[in-house]
Every structure is written in structure tokens, then in C-alpha cells.
């Protein structure tokens, strides 16, 4: 588990360094995600890589454990709401209504586009 966690941290570290060195507007952990994905794909081609954290379900089980409790990780930042209670008291209802309507509209627009586009592209594949 320590080796798997180290591999995950290493991917993030390389990601953060790369983002800063190249001054690109991408979050470092997203680059780390791509690196870990490339490592996992490379393991399929080169079985010699399947050792340590990359062998025997190591990094997989550590990652699944972390993602199973993803909700926990948002709590420290979320508690920051207590600092903004005065502003919420002033504009709170308007802000809540705006955010709620916007989130519903966004969910519907995204899922409708996804479903429409995937059936459109599937039809094109059927009759090229």
C-alpha cells in the first residue's frame, strides 16, 4: 500500500513540476492522472512493468479505496462556508436559487447532448 501511495504521489509530483515548468493552465493532478493512465497502459504492452505497485492489484486497490471515500475529501474546504455566513445572510436566497437553477439546467443540457450525440454517432457508424 505504501508503494502504491508513493507511485500516486510521484505521478502528482511529476505533474505539478511539469505544469509549472511549462507554464500551462492545467491542474498538476490532472497531468498526474494522465501519467498513471499511461503507466497502466504501458504495463499491458510490457509485462516486465507488472511489479511493485503496478503488480498484483497494488495501485488499483489503493486507488479504489481512496475513490470510495471521495466525499470525505471535500469536507475541509466545504466547512469554509462558516467564514461567509454574513454574505450568505445578505444575498443567500438569491445565490441558492441561482445556483440550483443553473445546476439543473446544466445537468439536463449535458445529459441530453450526450445521449443525442451518442445515438447520432452510433447511427453514422451503422451506415457509413
Amino acid at each position: 500500500m505504501i508503494a502504491s501511495l508513493s507511485l500516486i504521489l510521484l505521478c502528482q509530483l511529476v505533474g505539478e513540476v511539469a505544469v509549472r515548468a511549462l507554464a500551462v493552465p492545467v491542474p498538476g493532478p490532472v497531468v498526474g492522472l494522465v501519467l498513471l493512465l499511461l503507466l497502466l497502459l504501458a504495463r499491458d504492452r510490457f509485462p516486465a512493468l507488472a511489479r511493485g505497485p503496478l503488480g498484483n492489484d497494488g495501485v488499483e486497490s489503493t486507488s479504489r479505496g481512496m475513490l470510495a471515500n471521495l466525499s470525505l475529501l471535500f469536507i475541509p474546504a466545504g466547512v469554509g462556508v462558516v467564514q461567509k455566513l454574513d454574505l450568505l445572510a445578505e444575498h443567500g436566497i438569491a445565490i441558492l436559487v441561482i445556483l440550483a437553477v443553473s445546476v439543473i439546467v446544466t445537468l439536463l443540457a449535458t445529459v441530453a447532448t450526450f445521449v443525442a450525440a451518442s445515438s447520432m454517432f452510433a447511427r453514422e457508424e451503422d451506415n457509413p
Binding site: M66, L72, P76, L96
Partner: protein
């Protein structure tokens, strides 16, 4: 033993141990309740942990800075958890590769809808310009949203609050809303949750269905990129 129970509290309230314990314990309880109710949307563990911990801080007169000194160890794991999304992505790579085109179209439409809808609504409500700018990036993950808000000279801490509220509302509403529309494609349902409600929506998606979680994770990552490009453009056009 300490001769004064107050001095014990002074020690504990300043140490990271107490606030880390409070965070984990509150989450353990709210998550157990969420499991017991078979992941009912209203039993969202983030929502209930926030008000319980928030009330505890207000009652004990503890500052957020003191709380965060302990809770930062949990907060830190957000980065590694983003990297860990590579694993379910790898395991579902064939389904993801087959859906690249619909994902890109839905990303463009969803990202634009998230920004334009909030800016237009906030303007219709007559909110001050600084608040509108702070709300605009609310659908992306907190770190990125705060960066965008800063570059617009808005209020990053208000942005963080808007991001969290958006995430919680999205996570609560997504399942009933999608069931209501009758859409059963968990790729699309998850993707929408990731676009509209970033990591908290993704956490919800993983509770419902693994495929939904994978697509939510991709949506959240892509939306972080697209929104940082779109928000400055959108506010220039919409707030002239």
C-alpha cells in the same frame, strides 16, 4: 492530570489531532447513515458533515484557520485522489474510447451552459458585479475555480462557497432528476454530474454506478480545462 479542564481544551483545540478526528468521525457517522438509507440523495454525507462541523466550530468559537490546520491532511488527499481516477478510467478504457465524440460535444454544451446560465441569472437578480464574477466558475473543482476567480479580481473565498454549494445541490438532485427524465445511460448521467457538480457530483456518481463515476471523473477533469478558458470570454461578452 490537568488541574483545570479549560487548559485541556485550550491544548486540544489548538492541536491538529482534535480537528482531524472531528472531520473523520463526523464523516464516518454521516457516511454510515447514507449507507443505511441506501445512499438516499438527501442523506448526502458532505452536506450533513458540513453543518455538523460548522455548528461545532461556531459553538466552540473556533476559527476556520484553526480547524483547517487539522483538516488539511484530509484536504491534501484531493490531489492524489484525482490521480487515482486513472485506475477506473483504465479499467473502463474501451467504453470510454467508444464515447469520445459524444463526450466532447456534451463537454462544449455543458460547460457553456454552466457559465452562461449562472451569469444571466445573477444579472437578472441584480446581484453586484463582484458577486456575479465570483459565481461564474462555480461548476469546476475548487482549486481551479478559485484561480479563475482571482484572475478576474473577484472574491475567491466566495467562489469556494459557490463551488461547494453547487456540488452538494448537484449531488442531491442528479439521481431524482435523471430518473424523472427516464434516461438510463449511466455514461451520460455520470458525465452530466461531473460537468455540473465537479468532484462532489463525481463522488455521488461513484456511489450510484462505477461507469457513471468514471464518466463523471473525465467530465470534471475536462471541464476544469475548458472553464478556465471560457469564463473570462463569457464575462467579457455577458457583462458589458
Amino acid at each position: 492530570m490537568s488541574d483545570n479542564p479549560f487548559s485541556l481544551w485550550v491544548y486540544l483545540s489548538q492541536s491538529p489531532l482534535l480537528w482531524l478526528t472531528v472531520t473523520l468521525l463526523t464523516y464516518a457517522v454521516t457516511d454510515a447513515v447514507s449507507l443505511k438509507t441506501r445512499r438516499h440523495p438527501l442523506a448526502n454525507p458532505v452536506l450533513h458533515s458540513l453543518w455538523i462541523i460548522g455548528a461545532f466550530l461556531l459553538l466552540t468559537g473556533t476559527s476556520y484557520t484553526t480547524y483547517f490546520a487539522g483538516a488539511q491532511f484530509v484536504h491534501f488527499l484531493l490531489g492524489p485522489a484525482t490521480v487515482a481516477l486513472a485506475v477506473p478510467l483504465y479499467e473502463n478504457r474501451r467504453r470510454v474510447a467508444a464515447a469520445v465524440l459524444p463526450m466532447l460535444v456534451a463537454l462544449a454544451v455543458g460547460s457553456l451552459t454552466a457559465i452562461v446560465s449562472v451569469v444571466l441569472l445573477a444579472r437578472a437578480f441584480g446581484l453586484p458585479r463582484e458577486i456575479i464574477l465570483s459565481l461564474a466558475p462555480k461548476s469546476v473543482t475548487a482549486g481551479v475555480a478559485m484561480g479563475i476567480s482571482e484572475s478576474l479580481h473577484a472574491d475567491p473565498s466566495l467562489t469556494a462557497v459557490a463551488v461547494i454549494l453547487t456540488g452538494i445541490m448537484g449531488a442531491i438532485i442528479v439521481t431524482p432528476l435523471m430518473n424523472f427524465t427516464g434516461i438510463t445511460d449511466f455514461r451520460g448521467r455520470g458525465f452530466a454530474a461531473g460537468i455540473a457538480a465537479h468532484g462532489i457530483g463525481t463522488a455521488r456518481a461513484f456511489q450510484v454506478d462505477e461507469v457513471a463515476g468514471v464518466f463523471a471523473g473525465i467530465a470534471m477533469s475536462l471541464n476544469a480545462l475548458v472553464t478556465s478558458l471560457l469564463v473570462p470570454l463569457a464575462v467579457t461578452y455577458l457583462l458589458r
